[in-house]
């Protein structure tokens, strides 16, 4: 009798497995092959960019070189500057404080957000500064920062850090608040210490929010980089913008502007790639097979 029961169990068991397999197939049909007629995302994006550049270029006959510019003039200016090596050194000058400031913002912002989100007392004590800090008119504070930190590398790092810290921190904080209570209870019911609940349940559950914060702050960090170069010691890509704008050389002004925007786009997709690497389950759960 016992044996019969076991055999039946095994039989039903395979049924269940088969259900799971067919469910998996159904799921892959949902996300997988884009119908043949649909264009890949990158082609649509490229076509869009080409079209905008083309329209811009066609406006060339109406262009006054002081009031505006057009793509081929920018490309021409780019080759001229790239050839002189000026562009590379300016880019390196800009990227160094950017990398340090942005990295510091992650190192400080993520743990701070985790703690504020997790502990009510910290939230009540520190949350107000983070919320207010997000709206802080940083440009107005730059003169003060230069008084404190001088005109060099440190003040640039500080400006980039302060601009990118708050979106990272706030997103992490909100992410912690959105962690399903039941997952924390799983930790509690297995007697996980607070530290383990924070690092092994809350942190991974919050990763998608953290990565969204990193994406949002890329844009702010890039803007902060230019602000820092405008208002402290004039250097890097910001310096090129200011000098060429003062000379009414609009085409040259646009070279660093375009580079900065491209940099932000590249960094944002890099963050997206990192997200898929550190939190692959997220895309899988959402049923996305591409960004």
């Amino acid at each position: 009798m016992k044996e019969g029961g076991q055999a039946r169990n095994r039989m039903v068991d395979t049924t269940d497995q088969r259900t799971a397999v067919s469910a998996a197939n159904a799921a892959s049909e949902d996300v997988a092959p884009v119908p043949r007629r649909a264009l890949p995302t990158w082609i649509i994006t490229t076509a869009s960019v080409v079209l905008v550049l083309l329209i811009w270029e066609l406006c060339r006959p109406f262009n006054n070189p002081i009031f505006g510019t057009y793509p081929s003039a920018i490309v021409e200016a780019f080759w001229r500057m790239a050839g002189s090596g000026k562009l590379t050194s300016a880019l390196i000058d800009s990227l160094r404080p950017f990398a340090v400031g942005y990295a510091l913002a992650i190192v400080v912002g993520v743990p701070l957000g985790l703690l504020i989100g997790r502990f009510r007392t910290l939230e009540a004590a520190l949350g107000i500064y983070v919320t207010a800090g997000y709206a802080m008119p940083l440009v107005a504070l730059v003169p003060l920062l230069t008084l404190w930190l001088g005109l060099g590398f440190a003040v640039k790092v500080a400006i980039i850090f302060l601009m990118s810290l708050f979106p990272i921190c706030i997103n992490t904080w909100l992410g912690v608040r959105a962690v399903p209570k039941a997952l924390i209870e799983v930790g509690k019911s297995f007697v996980a210490p607070d530290r383990v609940i924070l690092t092994r349940i809350i942190l991974p559950a919050t990763l998608p929010y953290i990565m969204a914060g990193l994406r949002l702050s890329v844009g702010r960090a890039v803007v902060a980089m230019v602000i820092a170069e405008f208002f402290t010691s004039i250097s890097g890509l910001g310096a090129i913008i200011i000098t060429s704008a003062n000379n009414f050389d609009t085409a040259t002004t646009f070279v660093p502007i375009v580079i900065i925007m491209l940099m932000a786009v590249a960094l944002t997709s890099l963050v997206g790639a990192i997200e898929r690497w550190v939190a692959p389950w997220q895309a899988e759960i959402a049923g996305r097979d591409q960004p």
Binding site: N9, V12, D13, P180, S189, R200, E284
Partner: protein, 260 residues
């Protein structure tokens, strides 16, 4: 040994409804015990307090009166002497099935080769030995709940606390899981407190049934069905099943005037 006792367990909530502060008596002196190796199902309509009682037994909530003991020791917070199976399995989505089972064991202090081997043994026990590397989203509802059961069993608790574990499953999977739970129980002899709102389920798996209504114990009754129950289809056809089911149905329908 594994005997869990609820001794006069009461729970009051205060609610604020449109500026008025209301006291809700979620549990009122609930008093019963689950003996070693026994399965007791706790049944009642939504909001009757059955999940609250289970959560208090687990230590996820505190009682406002009375106490819970496991083998005579009063429960204070969560402990490895009790294993919880959640309603929606609640696996950690970034871990594989095996890692989910290992998580509970690690918290108990198991490490090294023993950790992996033990987790694997319990995955095998629930019939998922081949799916250890799957992430939760790759598993069906029934398979997820099996991992949840393996995770709770792996820490070798004295008592297994199950909160409507099959409530979210389709009817067929649910029947399979009921049979498998009884099979696992036959092999491990664990003490089980099982919360359900399903009449058939309550009768099929339990030795005794606690009927809860409006936070009060309406009745506690024995199920006169012998063990083992290898074929629940056959059990369903017996007059004892029908009679017990009817008694529980009557208890749920009658009595239990509104609280407060």
């Amino acid at each position: 040994m594994g005997e869990v006792a609820l001794v006069n367990v009461s729970k009051q909530f205060t609610l604020r409804v449109e500026r008025k502060v209301q006291t809700v008596q979620a549990l009122d002196r609930v008093n019963f015990s689950v003996h070693d190796g026994e399965i007791v199902s706790m049944i009642g309509p939504s909001g009757c307090g059955k999940t609250t009682a289970l959560r208090i037994a687990m230590g996820l909530e505190t009682a406002t009166g009375g106490k819970v003991t496991v083998d005579g020791n009063e429960v204070r917070g969560c402990g490895h002497d009790r294993g919880m199976v959640f309603q929606f399995a609640e696996l950690l989505p970034w871990l594989t099935a095996l890692q989910n089972v290992m998580f509970g064991l690690e918290m108990k202090g198991v490490s090294g080769g023993e950790l992996r081997a033990t987790a694997m043994r319990y995955l095998d026990l629930v019939g998922l030995g081949a799916s250890g590397n799957h992430r939760p989203h790759q598993l069906s509802g029934g398979m997820k709940q099996r991992v949840g059961i393996a995770r709770a069993l792996a820490i070798d608790p004295k008592v297994l606390l199950m909160d409507e574990p099959f409530g979210a499953l389709d009817a067929q999977t649910r029947e399979t899981m009921q049979a498998e739970l009884l099979d696992i129980h036959a092999r491990t002899r664990k003490t089980i407190l099982f919360v359900t709102h399903d009449l058939d389920e309550a009768v099929l798996i339990a030795d005794r049934i606690v009927v809860l209504k409006n936070g009060r114990m309406q009745e506690i009754m024995s199920v006169p069905l012998p063990r083992p129950r290898p074929d629940l289809g056959v059990v369903r056809g017996t007059p004892e099943f029908a009679a017990t089911r009817y008694r529980v149905w009557r208890a749920l329908r009658e009595g239990g005037e509104a609280p407060h």
